[in-house]
Assembly symmetry: D2
Homo-oligomer: 408 residues x 4
């Protein structure tokens, strides 16, 4: 048994097949993938990695299994899935996932191809575990898959606490130990035991507060959009293909961006934190519905139009339209007087949080500082925005005051 | 200048007249008044005192004044008020405040009589400060009074963090440092600066989660109700008068309860944690409105009726009807695009939280375990409750599972 | 199984007979006994109790047993002993233990009489456990007694971390989880496993730093000496006998001190923190050896002489001669290349720490501020001190600067 | 003024010229230089960077200046030096510093060439500050240089606390706030005020415990030695020159190692954590003195001899001879009864710690696992070691048990 010291959970005991899995290159690679991508440009301490997060998820899964009384091979599978659940992440985690998905058709939780062969497959097979079933668990399939990826999974319990610890933003400090202890299976569904409506709410509230403050902070979003743009240029220039980009680590990716002539300027800007600024920052109500449903090519076409209208280089415009807000945790299940209910049936807060999330949604248009105003004006015209009656409310959600001014 | 080590704020610097005030008996007395009264019967680590809390409030006031650029005598007054703001608390803090109010007409923030003479008055006067004006600040009067007692006061910033630290319940962990930094005065009103709607919401959410989990935990409420009953017996037996009870510390009060024959059994039960149980635990909707408005005499009369109906001793029944929920923080003010708005105008969450608080409200009837069922049945009849359609939802809000079962 | 939230160890699971023991009056009484006695007069947040500490010791014992693979009745005995290990403490813990020992012949770890009858005995017997064997474990007897009371016991692991958490002094922050994990039994001796010389040293260093900063802070010592004096007056006045004092809680004791005319002034001084000052504060080398060996009567006789020489009331002089320093942990055992060694054989640091402790030793003479200088001069003469060549070094060990000046 | 959220010091306020310095590429580069190099291979959470550490040092310097009453241009210089103090670090911080020093003649605190021109020089000059004087402060020159680099500098106060926070090892948790508050200048020397012998000792003890547990953990040392070897191959292959290596960040360096054919295998081993093992691990007493004084060429020649003797590839042997232990903090100065003394004059502990450090010193010979035993035997012969009477004591200092076994 290995014992590893962790800054969040103190001592983590690794036992069984997990000890061998830990030594495989796909897991070791997670040491070099930042948990929060570009968020460190807002919160300088946010340098934790997918590796330590994976250890944390393993640890919480192990404890949950213990409380649930699940043992033997079943438990070994869940623990393996917990340790491996993030090996499908591309460099900079979620930041460039959409871009690569357009080329590879795979999101980070689709890991069958990564697990089916190579050292991980070998290790699992040697231990009598079927790699495919582990990959299924990772994508949330089956009863026990809910523990790894679901509304009440141990993944979010670890990341909320860990991200709070490393950013210094206290909002993510949930009572994960209580959550773990109150998990039950009822008719094949993972639920929280009686009297935990509030425990479930606290998980939702933590996410609702961390979201705009950390995960969707506009500076992190701008840097992320620039990173995406850089990767698109690399792909367009054939400097690397999508499948190898997907398997790189943060070190490879940054070097590739620096080395490729078409993306070198973006890499330089990211290195020296000379980021684009917000030319526009718009509420959901002001955005025409066709824009919300636009695919990548339509977005590119809008960007070109805006650039033309503003008379700037086409690369000086980034249009960032997030998908509609959703709050997976609102359908998490709790036991109330012996009945399983979803949280949104039971909690007044959930509807309010869903509305709050809608209110916090923003579409952004980003451009270099010197042309940012021109680009903003052009974007309003090109996108046909109706800004009357909208309130651009509360744009600053972060802490870093210097970075938080509207014009950055 | 004195420097005092604090478990929450690390080093607290006491300067100016506060250093002399610290040595006065009314402030030293706060060392012997628990911050959370009977909550330690649920959370055993909750033994912190009004003294350390007062130091914390002083510290945060000092920092807020610094950020607001308020100096000189004005600042000295606010700091004094911050340090003294709790000297009006009776033993066990809020627990028996209502009882004593019926006799003395004074709540804990009415401290004019305590400050007008004696060592505190002397110390303030020697420093050129008018005791009356300090007392005014403590009751929240005037522009600067908002800092000491108001929707955005430093009092709640300290207690949320401190109570979280000492109970182990993380929900109170707000970003108090950010709150302090973002305070502004606009047209005589204390507001949070631009882009802090979420900061304000986080304060509300922390309270909303701490309330049922800690402050209104049913075991703490039962013990509190027993304590009130004990004090009423002491007063009825003339073993002490209300004004001297108000000035006692926790040590005096517990000794008085133990020594007075009429309250000795209650003291014994509190000492050995043999608490009454919930005979009834009822939602707001099920409670007739005349019960909600009942005064102390009417409550007593109901208790006698229930006891008669259940054929138990009159002292075996406690009826606990909390006042209607209110959420003072919902009218806290934030700057939005240059305008001052109240949080409930601006935040979707606030209305939801007010509803959630209504949902969490409970009326309780408590009785010794052996008669608890009988008393419950009798209470339903006597109070004319309509329990059809009400869901006694989520009665457990605390952590301490053993203590949390419905029948305790 | 009960789960209790703790500010240090988060969730503590109480299972087996411990759940019943928790409800007995002798254990509930520990809620009202401060862990650190008068230390709260230096560190205002140090209000934690023997109750939460006992839960913590129970928790660490449970984990240690788990790591050591000890189960069944043997484990149940150790857990019971851990939970009960402090029920022999008198009010204010160690502060007045010496006084009561002179009358009762019992220290706090001699609990046979407390466990042999009454509810604790009943609970243990019902569970098939022999009360006497539990009492033996509490006094450190037998192989497993080392876990409860010995050089590597879980008692000190809990209190160091807990006292650090509550005072705010970081020095006690040991890696208790590692210590627990590395415990082994070798030939009936509790040792730390290979490669833990440093782990053992860290425990020693934590104590060595906490000692002068917290436990032996001179202000806490003065208050403790005053408390002892008060108890002696109560006993002399027959206001209470030693055996009932031993069974009181802090509330009883303080009330007794306040009510007894002979000790009322001391209680008043403690309440308002008007403490005696150091009239003398002397190193070990300057103290004649007969003084070091003096018994209580000789000490009293010196006090009377000093008072006469200084022409002050006899009660205005307190002579405080601590026992010679010892460092129990220095004989803690570690495995080194397969052999059991004591730490002082193995560690260069231990000898140095023993010397440091000698250096930090101080004899004090305390008196009211207005006569403190006179008493100091008289004490030098009466005690025949040779102050030439001694350095009264580093008298301030605490944090609270205001309280730390030589003349307080 | 910018406010930045930090995981250790919460909010850090950046004001004056520091705000502009923050945006310069040499400071932004520190975001991509790990604080602890290869230590993350032992403690997976140790991913913090020189950037956040530099912000922390800036913050502590600012507070120290405030307490010392130093203002104006003098203070601005010290703050600038604090923020810039680490810009001279090469990638992986200290890990490859020695290698590059052999080529460039510069250690990390020699930054005159980095500050004399370019954006940092420009920013300083614009603010009326002389770059050379800042560089002097960084190398510890002058009275105020002691604050930036000296026995009591704010650098070590930050890194001890930060490294403890991020590794999870509590030993570094010093009371930095107290240290800052107690700093004084006496006759041009930075000292701790009266009564702080123990405060100074605690700083030393923290370092003494962190050293073997974290900084000199053998796994981190092995990885560091491999990294050095990789860099040497890169230099030998002319794949990069020393001056550009010095200015790289961790990303550049790792890519360079991966890309250069001569170092690719080492990069691969580091990536997948297939580290060399200890073939030999030897105490100071067993090491011939000529080996202790050996320069790089002599070391290389020993390595070649060992490889030949063991009949393995020359690259399969790494000889790691650390310099003699020193403990800079032992000459830190404290005020004792008005006189300035160095800590080692005053503290019994210091000598012991120096001895302990000698005891912990280890020379290592590392080799791939499959030839490690052969290499060990050969090394004993070639180096002429006398292992009789030496005790290879306590080789494991870390927490990560799996990684800590002698044969790893």
């Amino acid at each position: 048994m290995a014992t590893i010291k962790d800054s969040v959970h103190d001592h983590i005991e690794i036992h069984g097949v997990a000890e061998q899995l830990l030594d495989t290159p796909p897991v070791q690679r997670l040491r070099r993938i930042g948990q929060l991508g570009t968020v460190d440009l807002v919160y300088p301490s946010a340098n934790h990695t997918r590796f330590e997060h994976s250890l944390g998820v393993y640890h919480l899964a192990d404890r949950a299994l213990d409380h649930l009384g699940i043992e033997g091979k079943q438990a070994e599978r869940v623990r393996s899935a917990a340790l491996l659940h993030d090996i499908g992440h591309c460099p900079y985690s979620h930041n460039i996932e959409e871009v690569l998905y357009r080329y590879t058709g795979k999101y980070h939780d689709e890991v069958h191809d990564l697990i089916d062969s190579g050292p991980v497959a070998q290790t699992l097979t040697d231990a009598g575990l079927n790699p495919d079933r582990i990959a299924d668990l990772i994508s949330g399939e089956g009863e026990l898959g809910q523990l790894v990826s679901g509304e009440l999974d141990v993944d979010r319990m670890d990341y909320l606490v860990r991200d709070a610890h490393h950013t210094g933003v206290p909002y993510g400090t949930i009572d994960h130990e209580r959550l773990i202890r109150e998990l039950r299976f009822v008719d094949g569904e993972l639920v929280l035991d009686e009297n935990n409506v509030q425990t479930a709410e606290s998980l939702l509230l933590a996410r609702a507060l961390m979201n705009p403050t950390v995960y969707q902070h506009h500076v992190a979003r701008i840097a992320k959009a620039m990173l995406r743009r850089g990767v698109e240029r690399v792909l367009a220039a054939d400097a690397a293909d999508a499948e190898s980009l997907r398997r790189m680590d943060d070190y490879d990716l940054l070097s590739t961006l620096r080395d490729c002539p078409d993306s070198g300027d973006i890499a330089g800007r990211l290195d020296s934190r000379e980021l684009f600024k917000r030319a526009l920052w718009t509420e959901l109500d002001a955005v025409p519905s066709e824009l919300l449903g636009a695919d990548h090519q339509e977005i590119q076409s809008f960007e070109r139009e805006i650039a033309a209208e503003a008379n700037v280089d086409r690369e000086a415009v980034i249009l960032d339209v997030p998908s509609k807000p959703e709050m997976k945790e609102s359908s998490s299940r709790v036991l109330v007087n012996g009945e399983v209910r979803t949280l949104d049936e039971q909690s007044t807060l959930v509807t309010a949080l869903q509305q709050a999330q809608r209110d916090q949604w923003r579409m952004g248009v980003y451009a270099p500082q010197n042309v940012s105003e021109r680009v903003g004006t052009a974007a309003v015209r090109v996108l046909g925005l109706d800004l009357d009656g909208t309130r651009i409310r509360d744009v600053r959600s972060g802490i870093n005051a210097r970075l938080d001014e509207f014009d950055q």
